[in-house]
């Protein structure tokens, strides 16, 4: 079924809101300094909010993009060109971080196809993964990902789902020392293997962790997010929409009026993403999409104000009542 038509005039309103937000951001009381995302890189659509990577202080936009399923389109020319359009729009709206994995079928190849056709990929923050049981296969797999993306090196290389993390982290540390990757990390998802993740976080020097975090899946709030803050690790939130699950549950329900008043959340995408990225320990969320209107909505969530602690609690409570 074709997607419902969207209101494309919204970005202008966004830009206005973002301007207001910029002026009022510093005066905004009740927020910790970490939660105060900074607007940078003005685009045609307003400032994109960023957060800093603790290990270096580098800023990244609070909304990036995942590629699981959405970019796995194989050889189909029309679909490849369509996804190139998604990439173009992503950069146009100030996006930077793109996350992929060798597990995602043809996604890396399709990404490389799209990136090579864009006029500019300025600011690309490439995040991929290593996903093999054999330590010796790691460098080869990373090299293959580099070739598919068409990049010289990755900004972030993660151990996918903690698979053979002992072996791969050693490789990644060497690559980082040689300048082949800038940051290293590990990922988990679906709330699995949290105890093991905590052990890894406590014992290893990591720049990033990637975990599932959304308004309904909040298990990481108890121990993992505080630990990431203590250990100075950036946090990427995957499955921010629970794979469409959140939209299925809530899209027919009304957004509360206070969501716009207090956090510039005028769509459910805003509501879900702003909830995630306003957590003080979270650096960014990486929603995946195969549709331009959705991409626009997702990137719009990286503009305007973020909810403060009180509003976050209200948001979580609100979805529980629905």
């Amino acid at each position: 079924m074709p997607p419902p038509p969207r209101d494309d005039s919204r970005p202008d309103r966004r830009a206005f809101l973002a301007g207001l937000a910029g002026a009022s951001a510093l005066a905004w009381a009740g927020r910790s300094m970490d939660a105060l995302a900074r607007p940078v890189r003005p685009t045609d659509f307003g400032d994109v909010l960023t957060k800093t990577i603790p290990s270096t202080g580098e800023a990244v936009p609070v909304v990036g993009m995942g590629t699981w399923i959405t970019f796995n389109v194989g050889d189909d020319q029309a679909l490849r060109d369509h996804r190139t359009g998604i990439l173009r729009e992503f950069f146009r709206r100030g996006g930077r971080m793109i996350d992929c994995s060798p597990m995602y079928g043809s996604s890396a190849e399709v990404l490389g196809y799209g990136l090579s056709r864009l006029e500019t990929t300025d600011g690309l923050f490439s995040a991929s993964k290593v996903w093999t049981s054999w330590t010796s296969g790691g460098p080869e797999q990373i090299g293959e990902q580099r070739r598919l993306w068409g990049v010289d090196g990755f900004d972030l290389m993660q151990v996918h789902n903690l698979k053979n993390w002992e072996g791969h982290l050693e490789t990644l540390r060497e690559m980082k020392a040689e300048g082949q990757v800038r940051y290293i990390g590990v990922t988990t998802s679906h709330g699995r293997r949290h105890d093991e993740l905590i052990r890894v976080m406590e014992t290893q020097d990591l720049d990033f962790i990637q975990v599932t975090y959304n308004i309904l899946d909040r298990a990481v709030e108890d121990r993992i997010l505080p630990l990431a803050r203590d250990r100075g690790m950036a946090v990427i939130a995957n499955r921010p929409y629970r794979q469409k699950g959140l939209f299925r549950l809530f899209q027919d329900k009304p957004l509360p009026p206070w969501a716009e008043e207090q956090a510039d959340a005028v769509t459910w995408a805003d509501f879900f993403l702003k909830f995630i990225v306003s957590h003080p320990a979270v650096t960014c969320a990486i929603p995946a999409t195969s549709q331009l209107p959705h991409l626009r909505e997702n990137m719009a969530a990286a503009t305007g104000r973020l909810p403060d602690e009180k509003t976050r609690a209200r948001m979580a409570q609100y979805v529980e009542t629905l």
Binding site: W68, I69, T70, N72, V73, G74, D75, D76, A78, L79, M103, Y104, G105, S106, E109, S189, H190, Q243, S290
Partner: protein
């Protein structure tokens, strides 16, 4: 939920993949259709001299589905394709082993067995591919038995039921095709 971990593509992409697959394997489809016709003839008029033929034809189909459909083609989209391909090659080996056991007596087929077997063949060769084409609004991704897995699994089960072997043979050789159908049902549920 584990569902999203197991299926890395969308329905739209699967359809596009199948259309591209048909283009890339052409004219293998002609061979598949001729072999299907031969299979139907042998099943309709079994003689002691032809009892090994169904298993041999099905061996070729499963070897193709395992080696070409899964391991050479779908592997670009799905990390699970290698395992699925291996299971299909296993089925081909089982069928070949069965064919190698020599001729079997042509058994009398009960009315129920005949109806069930023929019903499965009709679904494999007609209802299922036609239904998918109508659903998708295009025949470009035609689910042709012999070169695509679900139609091959349905055809195999029909042939096993109609074929000369007894219940045990059909049961043993039907495990992997039944698993393919179960996976297909799961896939359809996820993609729907």
């Amino acid at each position: 939920m584990a569902v999203s971990v197991t299926l890395p593509y969308s329905a739209e992409v699967l359809q596009a993949f199948l259309a591209g697959y048909h283009e890339s394997i052409w004219p293998a489809q002609i061979a598949a259709v001729l072999l299907i016709a031969a299979l139907l003839v042998v099943l309709a008029r079994p003689t002691p001299r032809t009892t090994r033929l169904p298993a041999l034809i099905l061996t070729a189909f499963w070897a193709w589905v395992g080696g070409v459909f899964y391991m050479a083609e779908l592997t670009h989209l799905s990390f699970l394709a290698t395992a699925h391909g291996a299971a299909c090659l296993g089925q081909a080996a089982l069928l070949l082993g069965h064919a190698g056991r020599g001729p079997e007596p042509v058994a009398q087929r009960s009315r129920a067995r005949l109806s069930f077997g023929i019903g499965l063949l009709v679904v494999a060769l007609g209802v299922y591919p036609l239904g998918m084409a109508v659903w998708e609004g295009s025949a470009a991704a035609w689910r042709l038995a012999g070169v695509t897995p679900v139609a091959t699994a349905l055809l195999t089960l029909g042939a096993l039921i109609l074929g000369p072997g007894g219940r045990w043979t059909a049961g043993l050789l039907g495990v992997i095709p039944a698993a393919v159908l179960a996976w297909a049902a799961f896939t359809a549920w996820v993609l729907a």
